[in-house]
C-alpha cells in the first residue's frame, strides 16, 4: 500500500510539469501549426520547458539559453567534435544553428528549413549553375551526399578524403583503371580533371584542355616528369623569368613539379589551368588570410580576387603585390592616386624611414577600422607619425 502511494506521488511529480507544459503551451500555441511533419523530439514529447522558460527570459522566444549553447545541451557529440574539427561550416562556427534548422518541426529531414539544394544555394549562390551534364547527386539536390554540413577534415567539406569519396559510388575500379591507363585508381585525383557538380561534356571533364592532352600527346610531358618545373618551362619559356624576382612562388620540392601545386596538367575550369578559384586555391597554403578576414570588420571588396592585387609567380614587393604599395592601389583607386596624403619616395615614415605608401595606413586584407585603416582614423592612426597634434 505504502509502495503504491509512493509510486503514485512520484508519477504525479514527474508527469505534472510535462503534462502541464503540454496543456498550458498548446492552449495558445497551435499544436498543428507547430508540430507538422518531422518533429524535434523534445517538442514531440511536449517538453517545451527544455528549451523555453514559461514566464520571462533574457533571450528571444523565452529561450532558456542562446543558440548554440541551448542546442549543445542535448547535441553534445556534435559540440565535442566541433572542438577538434579543423574546418567548421561558417554558420556553425557562428553558432547560427537556426540558419539551416527549424526548432520545432519541418517537412525536411534533420529539421532542415528547406530542401538541401535550396538551403545550400541560398548562401552558395556561385554554385547554383545549370550544367548541360550535371552530376546526378547535384541534379537531384543531394548536396549532403558528398558534403558535410557541420564540420570536416578538408576545406571543401567533403565526406571522404580525395578520390575515395568518388569511389564510394563509382565502384567499378577496374573499368576506371582501364580508362585512365593506370594500374591502381587509388592514386588518381578525380577532382583535378572532373567537375563534381557538372560540365558541358561527357565524363564531367573540365572545359579547358591543356594542348598536349587535347592532342593526345601524353609523352610531351610524361617523358620528362622528373624534370620538375623545367618540363613546363620548355613550352612556357617566358614564365621562367616570372620567378626571377625577390619573392617568388616556386616552392621546389613541395611537389615533384612545383608548378602542379597550383596548376592542373590536363584539364581545368579556367584558362590559367588553376586547380581552383584563387580565393580557395591560395588559402590552401595561406590559411591565415581567411582567419584575418573572419576576425575583421572591414575587408577590401576584392578580397576574394587575390590576383587583382597579387602576382602569382613573382614580384619584387613584399606580399608579392603587383607593384609597390602605391601602384597596386592606384590601378583602381585613380582619384586617391592624384589627391591623397603625401606618398612616395620623398615622403618618409618617421617610424622606420621607409617611403609612405597606401599600405602604410591601409590593410586591404582586413582590419577593424573603416576604409581598411590599420588603426582608428579618428586619431590614433595619425598620431603614430604626427606626435605633436
Amino acid at each position: 500500500m505504502i509502495v503504491a502511494i509512493f509510486c503514485l506521488i512520484i508519477c504525479s511529480l514527474w508527469a505534472g510539469p510535462v503534462l502541464g507544459a503540454k496543456k498550458d503551451c498548446f492552449q495558445c500555441h497551435s499544436r498543428r501549426a507547430l508540430l507538422k511533419g518531422n518533429v524535434h523530439p523534445p517538442a514531440a514529447r511536449g517538453e517545451c520547458l527544455k528549451c523555453h522558460l514559461p514566464h520571462v527570459s533574457r533571450y528571444p522566444k523565452l529561450l532558456t539559453q542562446e543558440s548554440p549553447e541551448l542546442c549543445f545541451t542535448c547535441h553534445k557529440k556534435l559540440s565535442d567534435r566541433l572542438q577538434k574539427a579543423p574546418f567548421i561550416h561558417g554558420p556553425v562556427a557562428k553558432g547560427a544553428c537556426r540558419r539551416c534548422h527549424e526548432a520545432h518541426a519541418s517537412s525536411q529531414k534533420n529539421l532542415l528549413k528547406k530542401d538541401p539544394k535550396t538551403l545550400c544555394f541560398s548562401c552558395h549562390k556561385e554554385a547554383n549553375i545549370k550544367y548541360a551534364r550535371p552530376h546526378a547527386p547535384f541534379a537531384k539536390g543531394r548536396c549532403l551526399s558528398c558534403h558535410e554540413a557541420h564540420y570536416a577534415e578538408n576545406r571543401l567539406f567533403l565526406k571522404k578524403k580525395g578520390s575515395s569519396l568518388c569511389f564510394s559510388c563509382h565502384r567499378n575500379t577496374e573499368t576506371l583503371a582501364r580508362i585512365h591507363k593506370v594500374k591502381n585508381v587509388k592514386g588518381l585525383d578525380c577532382l583535378s580533371c572532373h567537375n563534381p557538380h557538372g560540365g558541358p561534356q561527357k565524363g564531367l571533364l573540365r572545359s579547358f584542355r591543356h594542348p598536349p592532352y587535347a592532342q593526345g600527346k601524353c609523352q610531351t610531358c610524361h617523358q620528362n616528369l622528373k624534370a620538375g618545373p623545367d618540363m613546363c618551362f620548355k613550352c612556357h619559356p617566358k614564365t621562367r623569368s616570372d620567378f626571377y624576382h625577390q619573392h617568388n612562388h616556386l616552392l621546389g620540392g613541395y611537389e615533384e613539379n612545383a608548378c602542379l601545386i597550383c596548376h592542373a596538367p590536363h584539364v581545368a575550369s579556367n584558362k590559367e589551368f588553376l586547380r581552383d578559384k584563387p580565393r580557395r586555391l591560395c588559402q590552401r597554403c595561406h590559411a591565415e588570410t581567411a582567419r584575418q578576414r573572419a576576425e575583421s570588420l572591414y575587408i577590401h571588396p576584392k578580397w576574394k580576387e587575390c590576383l587583382a592585387c597579387h602576382l602569382a609567380h613573382g614580384s619584387d614587393s613584399p606580399s608579392m603585390l603587383n607593384g609597390d604599395g602605391n601602384a597596386v592601389c592606384v590601378r583602381c583607386h585613380e582619384t586617391q592616386g592624384k589627391f591623397t596624403h603625401p606618398v612616395g619616395e620623398k615622403v618618409r615614415d618617421p617610424r622606420n624611414g621607409q617611403p609612405i605608401t597606401c599600405v602604410t595606413c591601409h590593410n586591404p586584407m582586413g582590419t577593424n577600422f573603416k576604409y581598411n585603416l590599420r588603426l582608428s582614423g579618428e586619431a590614433s592612426l595619425c598620431l603614430e607619425c604626427h606626435k605633436n597634434y
Partner: protein
C-alpha cells in the same frame, strides 16, 4: 652549523638553479641593443633581403636589395662601407664572403651567382646548373671550400666547388619531404627549414644522411627563416604572424618574441634571422632595418 659537504651541496643546488634560470630565460630576456636602418652615407636601407657574418673580419654584410648595394657593419652596428660595383649590382638577394675575400652575391633579376673579386677588379655573373637542370639560385652559404646554394626550383641544397661545378645535391631521404626554404650550416651539419611546414631537418654534409628532425608542435603560418642556439633552442621566423617563435628540440613552444609594427624592435615583413656571438639579428624587409637583440 653546516658541515662542508652540506655547504657544497647547497652551493651546487644554487648554481644549478642559476644556470637553469639563465637557460630558460635567455630568449625571453632579449633586449634591443641596436637598430640599423641606414648605410654609412646616411641613406635608408630599402627592402634588404640578405645577411652574412664573416668570422674572419668580424663584420656582417647586408644585401640592401632595393638600393642595389651591399653594406658592411661592425658587430656593434656601426656602418662601415657601401658597395654597388660601380652601379653594376642589381637586386642583390643573398651574399657570402669567402676566406679569400671574394664576395659571392645572388642577383635575382639575372638569376645569377655573381662573383666579385675586389682585388682583381673582377665582376662576373654565373648561371648555375646541376645535373643538366638550370638552378633558380636562392640563399647561399659556405662550408669548407664549397659554396652551398639553395635551388628554389628543386628545393634542394647544392654543393659547388671553386670552379662552380655541382658536386652534390642534398635532399633528405624521406618520402614526404617538401623542399627547403632556408638553410644554415653548423658543425658540418646542414640544417634546413622545410617549405611551409615549419619542419627543420639536419643532414650530415658529408653523407647526406638525416641526423635530426624537429617538428614544431604548434601552428605556423609562413615560416621563412630560422636559427638554432647552443642550448638546443630553435628560433622560427614567421613572416605572416610577424613573430619569432622559440621552441625546444621536442618542438614544444617556449616563447613568442617580438610583435608587429613599424618602430625599432617591431616587425613588419621580417625575412631572415642570424644568431651570432649571443646576439640575434633580425632582418626586416618591410621596415628596412636590422634589429640586433642581446643582453
Amino acid at each position: 652549523m653546516l658541515r662542508m659537504p652540506q655547504k657544497l651541496l647547497i652551493f651546487i643546488f644554487i648554481l644549478s638553479l642559476l644556470c637553469l634560470s639563465i637557460h630558460l630565460s635567455w630568449a625571453s630576456s632579449l633586449k634591443l641593443t641596436v637598430s640599423i636602418s641606414k648605410g654609412p652615407e646616411g641613406k635608408n636601407l630599402y627592402q634588404p633581403l640578405g645577411m652574412f657574418f664573416d668570422p674572419y673580419n668580424q663584420r656582417f654584410y647586408v644585401a640592401d636589395t632595393g638600393n642595389n648595394r651591399l653594406l658592411s657593419f661592425s658587430l656593434n652596428g656601426t656602418p662601415l662601407k657601401s658597395f654597388d660595383a660601380g652601379g653594376q649590382l642589381k637586386g642583390p638577394y643573398s651574399l657570402v664572403r669567402d676566406s679569400k675575400g671574394k664576395i659571392w652575391v645572388v642577383e635575382r633579376p639575372f638569376n645569377s651567382l655573381t662573383e666579385i673579386d675586389l682585388k682583381a677588379h673582377r665582376f662576373e655573373r654565373h648561371q648555375l646548373s646541376c645535373a643538366g637542370h638550370p638552378v633558380l639560385v636562392d640563399r647561399i652559404a659556405l662550408w669548407q671550400d664549397y659554396l652551398l646554394v639553395l635551388d628554389r626550383a628543386s628545393g634542394m641544397v647544392l654543393l659547388y666547388d671553386k670552379d662552380l661545378s655541382c658536386v652534390k645535391s642534398l635532399r633528405p631521404d624521406i618520402e614526404d619531404f617538401k623542399g627547403f626554404f632556408d638553410f644554415k650550416v653548423k658543425n658540418d651539419r646542414l640544417w634546413g627549414l622545410e617549405n611551409l611546414t615549419g619542419r627543420i631537418l639536419a643532414l650530415d654534409l658529408k653523407s647526406g644522411k638525416i641526423l635530426d628532425m624537429i617538428r614544431p608542435k604548434f601552428l605556423v603560418s609562413l615560416p621563412v627563416s630560422f636559427e638554432l642556439d647552443n642550448r638546443g633552442n630553435f628560433y622560427l621566423l614567421d613572416r605572416y604572424q610577424k613573430v619569432v617563435l622559440v621552441f625546444d628540440k621536442s618542438g614544444r613552444l617556449k616563447h613568442r618574441l617580438f610583435k608587429k609594427g613599424y618602430l625599432p624592435g617591431e616587425l613588419n615583413y621580417p625575412w631572415q634571422l642570424l644568431l651570432l656571438q649571443g646576439k640575434l639579428l633580425v632582418l626586416d624587409e618591410g621596415n628596412g632595418r636590422i634589429d640586433i637583440w642581446g643582453h
